[in-house]
Amino acid sequence: MRRWGVATVLAVAMVGIGSPAQAQTAGQLDRDGPDYDGATVTVEGELIGDFGRHSGAVWAQLNDDPYARRPLLETGELAGSNISVALRVPVLLFDLAIADRPGGYRYRGPLVRATGIYRYHDPQRGGESYLDVAELELIEPGRELHEAGSTGAAVAGAVLLLLSFTLLGLDRLRNRE
């Protein structure tokens, strides 16, 4: 717990958050990006994909779609495409807050709460849009997911392969005759 506190204090000291943060979803930021440019916002969701370390920061993707809370491999419920926002997190802040790997297949990534300034088409970054994170808090660590077995499909595939080799063998025999 102490780690999260330290991370928050450090980040606030480094970046400074003037105005109170408003809780938003990644979908809202995407839909109404220009309206949120320069605003301090908080988003919650799963860190997913890769943690890229470049340009003096850690770049991560935060998904706040239904799969973040209810992973597809567990529920089997589809809920549309992914909804995400890019995070740019100072390296120190990230390393203090996150000691986990990002989400992906068979892994639900760490759930976090990120607060920072939303940059829409940032001229400093060649027109990219992202959340410039100043506070990062781990809500729930990542966890393993288990895939369903597909023995039936494997057996069916093997049988079909066997059948096809039999047919090819018969064809060869016929040609010899």
């Binding site: 995407d30 839909r31 990006g33 997913i48 994909g49 890769d50 890229g52 370390r53 470049h54 340009s55 770049w59 993707q61 998904n63 779609d65 799969y67 992973p71 597809l72 491999l73 089997g76 589809l78 809920a79 549309g80 495409s81 992914n82 995400s84 890019a86 740019r88 989400g103 992906g104 297949y105 068979r106 088409h121 940032d122 001229p123 060649g126 027109g127 990219e128 849009s129 992202y130 895939e147 369903a148 077995g149 597909s150 023995t151 039936g152 499909a153 494997a154 069916a156 595939g157 093997a158 049988v159 079909l160 392969l161 059948l163 096809s164 080799f165 047919l167 090819l168 018969l170 064809d171």
Partner: protein, 497 residues
């Protein structure tokens, strides 16, 4: 009088179709091995099933082989048209079994989008997709971009293969034989694969500091989609995921390489001067400049970007992606939907025009545009000159060639067919209440095999619209002739004697 096809015709078509499907089975071994290495057992089982289905169909076609194996022109065209319907159907198996699609049609849509190198996607929760299935989506791009039929030609040449070659919308023979041309195309592709994947891997691993395994997945996927002007991406945010101008630059180079015809690659290897004199090269440089200029001016008017670098970087990448028919984006669908007016016109026109002929790009194609403009200019000249003046129209494309009225007519006919195809999807989209601009954008994107989206293509979209987009991707990729041959044979089957 139409002659009804016989059983022997069906066997002949089935024979060649089955051989091409067998190639899909071989290609399916790549993601199967990938799944085993990653210990993704459920996807591995689905790949094994797909390989089994492809192998059985391949073996059945061989077992039921017809008395004669020589393909004539119309049979070859029908084989190609059916190939591009059946191969995605078999390739759908691992996608459908992944659990990431609401309905089977959605999985088939993505397989068709993959094989036609379109890049529109209905997959849900892409970010949690198994790496091997993700690799398979991109391998479909490679198979389709290189030409699955071309792959078959490389391995087992047979009588009548010229029809198969042309049926897949390729009309240039770099070498005297189709087989050696096919092998040259594969050589060019493998060279680019080695250089492209290594470059992308190095950017991912060294510059972006991704894990090596993940850097390889990104390199493999993005290379396949860029060089084959596909547009699928391994993450839901497309190229915007990387936040790296360097990654975008390498990808852009691969997109340009993919949009060049293989004849142009051959000419480039011999020296760039040869290619710069071609009408096709001049046309594509002109259309790219005009559409990019229009888009940049449009974006400046809209005020979506506050500085010149952002405007140029984002504008150039999206237009390049549209013009090469790739469909990668560094912006979200909602962002693209804000591109109205001249910016929209520039981007949509770039998509509609497409890349070079006999390349992996879609759209009307640069040579047709160039020839259409030349034919129009000649018509105007004819009207202005005295009545009995004789005008000889020529153009330079790997040598000086005569622009005959027949050639001009056929070029304009295909261009008009594309316009009709664009309008068909627009009309169906608009009928479902999609705003006209969005309906037009998405329709052009599907029919020109681009893949940029303003959000119309989404899970839960109307079934009819989805089917229309599937047909648009299919007909657009084959450039109509093979489609007409198939329709003709179906009509003959139904009403022939």
């Amino acid at each position: 009088m139409l002659l009804r096809p016989h059983r022997e015709d069906a066997l002949l078509i089935g024979f060649y179709l089955s051989r091409i499907i067998a190639v899909l089975g071989v290609a399916g071994l790549v993601p199967l091995v990938w799944a085993v290495l990653e210990q993704e057992w459920a996807p591995a089982a689905s790949f094994l099933l797909m390989v089994g289905v492809a192998a059985l169909l391949g073996a059945a076609g061989r077992f039921l082989r017809p008395a004669r194996e020589h393909l004539d022109w119309s049979h070859g065209m029908v084989v190609v048209a059916l190939t591009w319907l059946v191969v995605p159907a078999v390739g759908t198996i691992p996608l459908a079994m992944s659990g990431h699609y609401s309905r089977l049609l959605d999985a088939y849509f993505d397989a068709m989008s993959g094989i036609t190198t379109t890049g529109l996607a209905l997959i849900q929760d892409l970010d949690h997709l198994a790496a091997s299935v993700n690799a398979w989506r991109h391998t479909l791009h490679f198979l389709g971009g290189q030409g699955i039929v071309l792959a078959a030609l490389t391995f087992f040449a047979a009588g009548g293969i010229l029809a198969l070659y042309h049926g897949e919308a390729r009309d240039e023979k770099i070498f005297p034989s189709v087989t050696s041309t096919a092998r040259f195309i594969w050589l060019v592709s493998l060279f680019h694969a080695a250089v492209g994947m290594t470059s992308l891997f190095l950017v991912g691993y060294v510059r972006l500091r991704f894990d090596p395994g993940r850097a390889f997945l990104h390199a493999y996927s993005v290379f396949m989609a860029a060089f084959d002007t596909g547009g699928f991406a391994p993450q839901s945010t497309s190229l915007g995921y990387y936040h790296s101008p360097l990654f975008e630059f390498v990808t852009a180079m691969l997109m340009v390489a993919g949009a060049l015809s293989f004849g142009a690659h051959y000419a480039l290897w011999r020296g760039p001067r040869n290619i710069l004199r071609n009408l096709e090269t001049k046309t594509i440089l002109l259309t790219f400049t005009v559409t990019l200029g229009a888009t940049i001016v449009g974006l400046a008017v809209l005020g979506l970007f506050s500085d010149a670098y952002s405007l140029t970087r984002q504008g150039t990448f999206q237009v390049l992606s549209a013009h090469t028919g790739t469909g990668f984006s560094t912006l979200s669908g909602a962002d693209l939907a804000r591109w109205s007016g001249l910016a929209f016109a520039g981007l949509a026109t770039a998509m509609a025009l497409g890349g070079m002929g006999s390349s992996t790009a879609g759209g009307v194609k640069a040579l047709r545009i160039g020839l259409t403009l030349k034919a129009l200019a000649n018509t105007i000249r004819e009207a202005l000159l005295p009545e009995h003046s004789v005008i000889t129209a020529t153009y330079r494309q790997n040598g000086l060639k005569h622009l005959s009225p027949q050639l001009a007519q056929s070029v304009m006919a295909v261009s008009l067919l594309y316009v009709g195809l664009y309008l068909l999807g627009t009309a169906v989209g608009a009928a479902y209440g999609v705003p006209l601009q969005d309906a037009l954008f998405e329709s052009v994107s599907a029919a020109a095999n681009v893949g940029l989206s303003v959000g119309v293509t989404a899970p839960g979209m109307p079934v009819l619209l989805e089917v229309v987009y599937i047909l648009q991707m299919w007909a657009g990729r084959l450039e109509f002739i093979a489609v007409f041959a198939l329709v003709g044979m179906m009509v003959a089957w139904a009403v022939g004697e």
